[in-house]
Amino acid sequence: MSGPYPMVSVLGILIVALTLAAGLIWLERRLLALWQDRYGPNRVGPFGLLQVVADGVKIFMKEDWIPPFADKPVFILAPAIIMVTVLMSYAVLPVAPGIIISDLNIGLLFILAMSSLGVYSVVLAGWSSNNKYALLGGLRAAAQMISYEVFMGLSLMGVVLMAGSFSLSAIVEAQQKIWFVVPQFLGFVLFLIAGLAEMRRTPFDLPEAESELVAGFHSEYSGMKFGMFFVGEYLGVTLISAMITVLFFGGWLGPVLPPVVWFLLKTFLFIAFFILVRAALPRPRFDQLMSWGWKVMLPLTLINLLITGAVVLSWS
C-alpha cells in the first residue's frame, strides 16, 4: 500500500510531522501576536524562525527533574504515551495517493481509538504527579474526553454512511463529486468542536487552565518531558486539521496543484483557524462545558446521524 519503499514513507511522514509540530510552536506564537497587534518572536533568525531551535536547545539542556513525591514509572511513561498515540494516528492518514503508511480498512476507527488512548497520557500524568492541581487537571481531562469522544465518533458516522467505508483514502475518493462539508455541514461543525476539545486546545483547555490550575496536568513536568506534551499537543492539532481536511474537505483533491500541496494547504488553513479560535475565545466554566457536550452537542449529532441515515437509505 505504501509504495515500493515503505520505510521512506514512514520516515518521511515522521520527519514532516515532527518538523511541522515544532514549526507550529513558532507559527502559533507569530499568529497569536498578529491577532493581538504584536510581533511575537522575530529576533532569532529570519522572522524568528530559529526561535524553535533555540527553545529546543534550551529545553534539552534543562534538568530532567522528577519530583520525589511523584510515581516515578508512570510519571515517565505519561509523556511517551501521548507522543506514541498521536504519531500512530499518522500511520493511516492519506496525504496523497500512494503517500500513506498503512491504508487500514478501519482507518477512521483506528484514529478515534488512538486519540482515546491519548487521554491516558493526560490522566496518568495528572495522577502520577501527586499534586492536587495536576490531579484536578487529569480528572477534568478524563471527564471532558469521555463526554466529547462520544459525539466526536458519532459526528463522523454521517461521513462514513455517505462514503460507505471506514478507510480514509476511500472516504477521500468518495468526495470526487462534492466535498462532504456540504451535505455534512452540521457534522463538520460538530467534529470541529469535538476536535478542539479532544486536543485540549483553548477554549477547551480546562485540563491545563493555567489561570486556575497552575499548568494543570503538566504542572510538575519540566525539560523534555514537558516538551513532549507540547509537541504532542501540536501534533494533535495537525492531526485534527488533517482529519478535517480528509473527511470533509476532499483531502488531496483539487485542481492544478499537486495533491500533496492541496492536502498541506487545506491542513494549514485549519491549523490557522484553530490558532485564531485560541486567540478569540475565552475558556468556559467546567460545568458549562459538560452540559454543553451532553445536552446540546450529543442530541445534535444524533439528529444529524438520523437525517443522514434516512437520506442515504431513501436514495439507495
Partner: protein
C-alpha cells in the same frame, strides 16, 4: 453562538491592523525632558561643582541610596569628598532633585544602565559628575547665595545685593 462567531471575526480583522509594539533596541522610545532616569551631578557655568554637600538629598532619599561626605576647600567652599549613589537601590523618585538647594543633583532621560554585576551599579562621584549645568544653564549658586567664601565677601558677587546694615535700621 452568533457572538462567538462575531468575536472570532473581529479578532481576525486584527490581521490588518497596525502593530503597537515598539521594537525597543532598534526603535528608541521618546523620553520627555523631565523623564526621571539616571542621576547626574551638574556643574556651575564656570565649571565648579554645584554640590555643597548639604546632605538634603541623602535625607530625602526614601531608600537611602545616596551616601556622601562633606568637606571644605581652602576658600571655605563646601563640596562632597565622596558622593555615591547605589543605583541598585535607587527608585528614581526624584525627591533628591526636589530637595537639592543648588540644582546640583538632576535626573536625566536615560534608563539604559543594565550591568552584569551588582557592584557596577554603585556610581561614584566621577561617574555622576557631568561637564555642564544640566537643565539650568545660567544658574550659579555661589553668585546668588550671599554666602561668604574665601576671596569673596558677603553680597559681593555679580547677582548679590550688599548685606543690610542692621544697625542703620535703628530709630
Amino acid at each position: 453562538m452568533l457572538s462567538i462567531l462575531k468575536g472570532i471575526w473581529n479578532v481576525f480583522l486584527h490581521t490588518f491592523q497596525k502593530r503597537i509594539t515598539v521594537q525597543y533596541p532598534d526603535q528608541k522610545p521618546y523620553l520627555a525632558p523631565r523623564y526621571r532616569g539616571r542621576i547626574i551631578l551638574s556643574r556651575d557655568p564656570d565649571g565648579g561643582e554645584r554640590c555643597v554637600a548639604c546632605n538634603l538629598c541623602a535625607v530625602a532619599c526614601p531608600v537611602s541610596c545616596i551616601a556622601l561626605q562633606a568637606t571644605e576647600d581652602e576658600h571655605g567652599r563646601r563640596y562632597p569628598e565622596f558622593f555615591r549613589i547605589n543605583f541598585s537601590r535607587c527608585i528614581f523618585c526624584g525627591f533628591c532633585e526636589e530637595a537639592c538647594p543648588t540644582y546640583a543633583i538632576q535626573l536625566t532621560p536615560d534608563f539604559e544602565m543594565a550591568e552584569f554585576h551588582r557592584q557596577n551599579l554603585v556610581y561614584e562621584k566621577e561617574d555622576l559628575l557631568i561637564n555642564g549645568p544640566g537643565k539650568y544653564p545660567g544658574y550659579n549658586f555661589w553668585n546668588i547665595s550671599g554666602v561668604q567664601i574665601g576671596g569673596k565677601d558677603k553680597g559681593r558677587a555679580a547677582h548679590e545685593a550688599a548685606p543690610v546694615d542692621v544697625h542703620s535700621l535703628l530709630p
